[in-house]
Symmetry: C2
Subunit: 200 residues, 2 copies
Amino acid sequence: MSELVTIPARRGKAAFVEKGRDIRLINTHGHQIVDTWAFSRNDLHEFMSMEHCRGTLASLRPRVGHSLVTNRRRPILTLIEDTTPGVHDTLIAACDRYRYELLGCTEYHDNCTDNLASAMRELGLTAPETPCPFNIFQNTPPDPVSGEISFLPAPAGPGQYVTLRAEMDLVIAFSCCPQDIVPVNGPDGGKPTEAHFQLL
Amino acid sequence: MSELVTIPARRGKAAFVEKGRDIRLINTHGHQIVDTWAFSRNDLHEFMSMEHCRGTLASLRPRVGHSLVTNRRRPILTLIEDTTPGVHDTLIAACDRYRYELLGCTEYHDNCTDNLASAMRELGLTAPETPCPFNIFQNTPPDPVSGEISFLPAPAGPGQYVTLRAEMDLVIAFSCCPQDIVPVNGPDGGKPTEAHFQLL
């Protein structure tokens, strides 16, 4: 088991993971959304794709036992364990500077899109695009009747985690979502915190 | 009003559209899904993005009056008219050769991903990626309770249409979905047909 790796609050972190290895993502302080991406180690143009996952799983909601697939419809990560209430999102784009400008920010605001780029850069890599992330722990459910999406506090408690199995050699990237205007990062109004991951 | 342009059965077609112009997409024979993309004319890296639309609209389902936005969260197309039952999809990736391989095809099968590339090529353009399309007329609703997605026949009848207003100079691309294995293109088991569009 490797050491715990910190995903700093409001920042991203990426790592190489070999096929067959398990990655545990821990909601250290609770209620923190972690945007998650995975890219094939051999070809970064193949990556985990939410629109392909929803089609392949025929579901909005990945559950334990489900394999998330790439834009070439190959399994890349399998959700093998989930000690949280099981609330995650596949629908919403990573936050970006345009999002924060529309929310009224006049100065730079940390954002998951830039965090992906920075995290990949630390490994000497450039993501070919910003795929829609798997927003682990994010609570943005569509209304059953109207289809309207609510932005609610993440319910995962401190220390709760998910474990993902690498189905190919891959690069995984995480971003501790810095959203502090819309209260999605916790019931206290959304205070972004660090999270951790560990290769098992 | 321009002439009717044919989107051949199982194929794609793209066109330049000026800001302020309206585009009518007609389900000529009924029950045909048309995957739809839009790219900024000035920078093809800015394009209509379903994951950004869902966030900005806070909804799974674009309705008349809604503006679809780009990956830079700017309006690119507004749905101004819809004579169909209003059933469209923002969730499912364009079909591709991997999809048909998994469905058992051993030879090449037409697919919306390749149709986008071909349609853009006819205009001398290359899309930087295959964004998740706005699947106009597609009936793939998530179950209110389980989140499971059903693949159902498209309900739009012959001659029914949607009209979209261009909010910037753009390239629009359509693909008459060639899906004939999963019965989504109509109640007869899914026989792909042509559709038409017109610049008003």
